[in-house]
């Protein structure tokens, strides 16, 4: 800064001229570019030149960031799938259906229509002469 009284250059941090002792007015801080107060974006923080205590770990350490709001689920009921009864009911029904199909198929595969006489219930009498 230049002393308005003696014209000497003074230190930026000094409020008085180091040569003549005259008060030196510091120029006002230039307006900073950025969003106007109250606009969304940066939260209101300390004014320039202020410092505030650090809260939480630095961002590059990946510390906890607090609760995160989840999007609303479209299925309703909330919670993961394994907390609902429907998956288990469907699984049980599928297992029963598969067992039934296997049973029906096994029984059908054993059917021997060629052993049936005259299309009527038939008794196969397996005997030996010995």
């Amino acid at each position: 800064m230049i002393c308005p009284r003696c014209g000497a250059e003074t230190s930026e941090m000094s409020a008085q001229c180091e040569w003549c002792g005259a008060a030196v007015a510091r120029p006002a801080a230039p307006p900073q570019a950025g969003p106007p107060p109250g606009s969304p974006g940066m939260p209101p923080g300390p004014s320039p030149g202020e410092w505030y205590p650090h809260q939480g770990p630095p961002a590059w350490q990946g510390g906890p960031t607090g609760p995160v709001a989840r999007p609303p689920s479209s299925g309703g009921g909330g919670g993961p799938w394994y907390t609902r009864p429907w998956p288990y009911i469907v699984a049980i029904i599928l297992v029963i259906a598969v067992i039934g199909l296997v049973f029906v198929f096994a029984r059908g595969s054993k059917a021997r229509p060629d052993m049936v006489v005259a299309g009527k219930p038939t008794l196969l009498d397996f005997y030996t002469n010995t």
Partner: protein
């Protein structure tokens, strides 16, 4: 057991047909997994097995005839 089977065959004539199979001459005994004699296998009209009996038991055999006749 042959006379018992003959009697039941006559009683359930028209409802249950008896097919006598010599296990030593017919390979179907092996196809049905028959290993002891006598063995009685009741089939419904489609050829599906209804009941299988191993050994001679007249009461059980008659029950098998009734079951087979009902499956007609």
């Amino acid at each position: 057991m042959a006379p018992i089977v003959d009697g039941l065959e006559s009683r359930y004539a028209g409802q249950v047909v008896v097919k006598r199979i010599d296990a030593h001459a017919d390979p179907s005994a092996g196809q049905y997994g028959v290993s002891a004699y006598p063995t009685y296998i009741f089939l419904d009209s489609t050829g599906a097995e209804i009941e299988r009996q191993v050994g001679g038991n007249p009461a059980r055999l008659e029950a098998g005839f009734q079951k087979a006749a009902a499956a007609h």
